[in-house]
């Protein structure tokens, strides 16, 4: 937060605005057109677009390449980077390479375990963890050095993001871990999808009590649910998700053709509630394989036009 | 086909089910060749004993253990049950068919039940045919 702005996301947040980011999952293939199509749907209605890094451990087009395609379209990407697949040598190299391509935001993650993905027989790396990755990017930016202490010829000046999951356990420790991520160098936080508002508020309260909301920009994650099946899947099969029974009942309670509409309604209500919570500086809208709904949600939430 | 041979059954049993003086041999059936092996407790039926019984030519192996809850050593019969399940799986793995091995709980001295279980094993053996390893070695011998 101390350094000069390098991108729009950082500008919006540092000027006290309410940021909106969305998500773009790269294709399982080499077709750049798919990335551009998703980019078109998101352009203008969000400040930056997160590009996932082989999410759920399924082999996809690399995050860096997909980010570079967005950059050429004038869209600001947030490059997600997981420590699952690359050691510290490759991670640092890719951070520098990404910055050289005009990528100015990074979200540092450990990554879903490979047992969930398309290659459960793969060797995982986890040479360093997400906390270490945050610190690495910060050291590169602030000290202009790589992890070995070498002076870089041109330091990557990334705006650094990290993830937080208020719905994982042990609950009390979650805020302590958030503090560690901030100390390590996180400028902004994107959270797991918020469905359980009560728990999210409790977490935010703890973060505020610790003074953390003054030190970092928290973007609350939201995901519109498209179907009852998706709601149930997220409730039971996705690690670290908390979808209250009441929401599933609500989705089940409407006629089938209206279910997606109800999902959007829930999402809009959530966004409205999140905007009321002190310390929430934005939303991260993850419309999974439903990018065409983003503009509508951002618009109906009253968050258009973007600065 | 040569003449029909009798099924060979090896019966391991706990002495607390049938002791020395008991009339277990009386359950012997005309249709089978029975070989009784008594153990101080059914838990002493080690994996290798069961395997060796098959190596010795048994077409089926029966383990008679005390009723559940009635083991003199508390859990001997439960251990025997687990071991038998393990070896049944091994027999399946080597193509011998785990059904050739069975364990039954029998009340002390209950010769009628024991006879019924042995009859059951005999019919299983008859259905599955002779021990494939023994059958092969018999024919090997014949060729010499």
């Amino acid at each position: 937060m101390k350094i000069e702005s390098t991108g729009k996301l950082q500008r919006v947040l540092n000027s006290g605005g309410f940021a909106v980011t969305a998500e773009c999952g790269p294709p399982r293939g080499a077709d750049a057109e798919i990335v551009r199509k998703k980019g078109e749907l998101l352009k203008g209605c969000v400040d930056a677009v997160n590009v996932t890094d082989n999410q759920t451990a399924i082999v996809r087009m690399s995050s860096i390449a997909a980010c570079a395609h967005l950059v050429t379209m004038g869209i600001e990407p947030v490059m997600q980077m997981v420590t699952r697949d690359r050691n510290r040598i490759a991670l640092q190299s890719d951070i520098m390479g990404a910055y050289s391509l005009g990528i100015t935001n990074i979200l540092c993650l450990s990554g879903d375990h490979q047992t969930f993905g398309s290659q459960p027989d793969a060797l995982n790396v986890f040479d360093i963890d997400s906390m270490n990755l945050v610190r690495t990017v910060q050291t590169m930016r602030e000290q202009g050095q790589d992890m070995s202490g070498f002076e870089l010829k041109g330091a990557p000046r990334m705006f650094i993001g990290a993830a937080a999951n208020p719905f994982a356990d042990p609950f009390e420790y979650r805020v302590m871990r958030l503090a560690k991520k901030i100390d390590a160098g996180a400028d902004f936080i994107q959270t797991q999808c918020v469905y359980n508002l009560a728990r999210f508020k409790a977490w935010m309260k703890m973060a505020q009590d610790e003074g953390l909301t003054e030190k970092v920009h928290i973007l609350a994650g939201v995901t519109p649910m498209k179907s009852v099946g998706m709601a149930k899947y997220m409730a039971t099969r996705v690690a670290g998700m908390d979808v209250p029974e009441g929401l599933i009942k609500r989705m089940e309670g409407v006629a089938k053709p209206k279910v997606a509409e109800e999902g959007i309604k829930i999402c809009l209500e959530t966004i409205a509630a999140l905007r009321e919570i002190q310390g929430v500086h934005g939303i991260h809208l993850m419309a999974i394989e439903w990018e065409d709904v983003v503009e509508r949600i951002v618009s109906e939430a009253g968050l258009l036009p973007r600065p | 086909m040569s003449q029909k041979s009798q099924s060979k059954i090896t019966v391991f049993h706990c002495i607390n089910v049938f002791g020395d003086g008991d009339a277990l041999p009386a359950v012997a059936s005309a249709s089978g060749e029975l070989n009784f092996i008594k153990l101080p407790c059914s838990s002493m039926v080690k994996d290798v004993f069961l395997m060796r019984a098959f190596e010795a030519g048994a077409d089926a192996v029966v383990v008679l253990v005390c009723a559940e809850g009635a083991c003199r050593y508390v859990e001997g019969n439960l251990r025997a049950k687990k071991r038998v399940a393990w070896i049944k799986a091994l027999l399946d793995e080597i193509g011998m068919d785990g059904r050739r091995l069975a364990l039954f709980n029998v009340a002390a001295g209950d010769a009628r039940s024991a006879k019924r279980f042995i009859q059951e094993a005999l019919s299983v053996a008859a259905a599955l045919g002779p021990n494939p390893a023994a059958a092969r070695s018999r024919s090997d011998v014949a060729l010499v």
Partner: protein, 222 residues
Amino acid sequence: MIVGEQKPISEIKQIIAPYQKVLILGCGTCVKTCFAGGEDEVAVLASALRLVCKTEGKRIEIEEQTVERQCEDEFIQESAQAVSRNQAILSLACGAGVQAMARRFTTAPVLPGVNTTFMGVLEKPGLFTEECSGCGDCKLAVFGGICPFTRCAKKLLNGPCGGSQNGHCEVSSDIDCAWHLIIERLKALGQMDNLRVYLPPKNWAASLSSGPRKLIREDHML
């Protein structure tokens, strides 16, 4: 101890297929304790292989022997005569034992009959759990005696990840979240401050990452 599991019979059959005289050599230390390669397992495997070979009309002679430890030359020597009588050795030791045998008997094929799985403990009868990955740089003092490098599926140094729920790992509800255990333990010890500090990247140079390691004790060499 080293924990291992006997290979499936079908794989063992394939491995020993070229040989008619095979020595099955057990190891009386770790793999005996985990029921993979002690004297009893040698006997059962020998019996199973004899039965399967007879069933399939294949001739095989199997000799059985178990030495105290296949990872020490002193004990390995006891098998020399049996080795010379056979065409191949099917070792039921861990991978270290198999290699120690291969080192000593340079002309005899030494074949593995066990998959060496991990370094662990007997948690309760019939249950063995992995506890240590031999990283060469033990940090258990910081983590309340619970190793995150081994017991966290992501080897997290500053865990837990966002997949930890109700004390379970995201990989499987059968796996305890190591970080949950660490936090519970440090709370009980009054050492939660251990987790407030940022832990820098682990130095993996002491691990297998730098190639096979050696322990040299000059004072024991002549």
